[in-house]
Amino acid sequence: MIADLGFATILIALCTSVFAVGAAWYGGRNHNQQWVESARNAVWITFPLTFLACSTLVYLIWTNDFSVQYVADVTSYDTPQYLKVTALWGGQQGSLLFWNLLLSLFTAASMRRNWHSERQLMPYVIAVSSMTQAFFLYISAFIENPFVRAASVAIDGAGLNPLLRHPGMIIHPPMLYLGFVGFTVPYSFAMAALISGKLDDSWIRTTRRWTLVAWLFLSLGLILGGRWAYDVLGWGGYWAWDPVENASFMPWLAGTAFLHSVMIQEKRGMFKTWNMFLVILTYLLVIFGTFIVRSGLVSSVHTFAQSNIGWYFFAFISAMIIFSAYWLIERQNMLRSKNHLESLLSREAAFLLNNFLILAILAATFLGVMFPVITELFGDKITVGEPYYEKVNGPLFAVLVLLMGVAPLTMWHKSVVEKLQRAIIAPIVIATITIVVLLALGIRNVMALIGVWCVLVSAELTLLEFWKAARARMTSRGENIFRALAQLFIRNQRRYGGYLIHLGVIVMAFGIIGLEFFQQQTQLRMTVGDTLTLGRYEMRFNGTRQYQGPDDLLINEADVDIFLGGHLVKSITPHINVYQRTGQPMTIPDLRSTPLEDFYVLLVNWESVTADSATVKVYLNPLVNWVWAGGIIFVIGTAIAAWPDPQEARVVATTRKFAVSTD
């Protein structure tokens, strides 16, 4: 009964979405406000409807209604209550429904925020975003219906996948989904600008802001996912160039390219077609990423054929490509740029080089993801593992990081060569000296040294950028350094938020180089009292114990002491959790974490664990904490850049007033 209500809500939401597409399109074409407003009301009602559908599903999970198949799949009587809420996105059907909720939330938010400021675009914004909404609601209603009844009512459910019972997994998926669905909004605005032909500066401002919001969430999702992998998956790393990871990394790359090249259009009115293309590409990669993960295409071509969902996605992506391409070509002459590139040594050219590098990384990643699929179609499937991505993308990232430091020194129109040289000579000298020192200290890894050099130069230039601007305020206004820095962020959120993001990337880059090139590991069978040495550390194994945990957990825990220079620095307890109902083991590492390095210990779960012996795998991970610290700086920078700017709002309000009075 309750399940029927949930299903009915999905159906009604599907109807309102389809109506919104039609009404908005008709109203927009015929300049009929009544139809447009009716479409808006349909959008307004879609959000409560999807919310109701999700609430219904959560209620069914909460009350253990195992007559519904999805509930039986993701929960059980002994699942803790808070996990019953997160079980909403613990499986395919539920997470697609959740996706629908977030999409309708984003669409409603964009209606609320931009209804008056972007009035002329709104009919088509509604039409385009409702098209996406209708597609996903159709999938939820007819292909992946979470309310389907079970063939027979189970006595108890299967419980949530153990991997998903970690706090990181509770926050990570919603962030990632918010990032993904968020890109629908900038796409809708871009398409609305194309369709309506209102291709002035207004749409690009709105689109940029919404892209930044989606990008913030996607970045957060990626970072949290890395942290979750490091804490739970038990292989000593945070990123494996896994197809599923790549699927969410690709839209992030395209979004990053857009956020940079959009500045050329704002400042110089150039590359309008290119920016339009990047917005469209980002959106298509979001749908594509969802498609390859949901359909199982990345695992094997054969799983694709097993479910219908793949074909629906395939059809939808094709339709959206044709739709987008048609309007892009149709409006080509309106997208002509009035200005020309004046120099290859200009800010414009630097942004273009940035785009070129990012798109190369994107293409390499795309090829790496799709190559196994393509080869499987024609014969033997080929595995594309980490080494490929490291070899192809590594050098591209190094150049990109270097460019990130140098680009802010370039000027619009044309840079003065001598000035550029003067500005970069000192950082280059300092970085080179540092490399010589590192060589003298015995570090001989050439790739790592090149990487460190690039990151160092970029770091110095970025910090100098802050310093020069702060010093200018300090001398001219007598402010102290903290006030001066704070004022920079307040006065120009976009620029200094952006530079803070760069700083976050630099800090992360140091961490990535540390783990990538200097990770040490060893695996050993140990009995009570055994010690092993790794790096500067010594580790003593004190035996294991077994006990019953919460839920149906059986915990095998090892007791390990870590010594540094003969002194005990920390006792840790890496453990293996076995969920007895499913028999699925989880290897939970424990670690001693410092800014310099992590001493990371895990029990090898395929070897036996007895009271006095176990096989341990020990990693010494240099600079891993820099990755998380950089991630935090990155997110703060993005939040500053995306925060509504009161001054910009005032400018927009004024121009709107003028626009209204001249109408």
């Binding site: 070129f356 080929i382 000035k419 395929w606």
Partner: protein, 170 residues
């Protein structure tokens, strides 16, 4: 059906490995070399078993992977090099077992598409940039050069002024 097939293959693989492993273990039981887990893992890191999805052999807990690692241990103890072991696995199970696709055959597409695209793209890109950049007139460029020599000496001051002006305009 697919899942069944997969499981069946998995079992066959397991049994084969077990037999092979048993055979080798017996034959080298008296070998003197003790191969450490680290040596095995180093080799295993470059391999993927055909059954497990995106999980390198050195961290994969499935029985098939345990057996493969045992086989690597046996081969190492017989004095085989990493290359020889990879070649053996490749000959037996195809390219898919290698984490890093070998640079031959169809894989050339994978390895060379991006570098070639970078070179060709880079060339076209610079040509395009040259094409769309507005040729500066001689007189302008002369005055620009003159201007730069003057500003170069006071560039820092000018930079500071620029920032101040930008901040004031905000």
């Amino acid at each position: 059906m697919q899942a069944l097939n997969l499981r069946f293959t998995h079992h066959i693989l397991q049994i084969t490995f077990l037999l092979v492993a048993l055979f080798f273990t017996a034959s080298v039981a008296f070998a003197q070399d003790i191969v450490t887990d680290d040596e095995v893992n180093e080799v295993a890191h470059g391999l993927f078993c055909p059954v497990c999805e995106s999980e390198p052999l050195d961290t994969c807990p499935t029985q098939a992977c345990i057996d493969w690692r045992e086989e690597i241990r046996v081969q190492l103890s017989e004095g085989q090099t990493q290359e020889q072991i990879y070649a053996m696995f490749r000959a037996r199970y195809g390219d898919r077992v290698l984490a890093e696709p070998p640079v031959d055959g169809i894989n050339l597409i994978l390895w060379f598409t991006i570098p070639v695209a970078l070179i060709v793209g880079g060339y076209l890109f610079t040509r395009y940039l040259h094409g769309i950049s507005k040729p500066t007139m001689v007189t302008q460029s002369t005055s620009a050069t003159l201007g730069t020599t003057q500003t170069a000496t006071t560039s820092d001051d000018e930079y500071v002024r620029r920032i101040e002006e930008e901040l004031r305009n905000q």
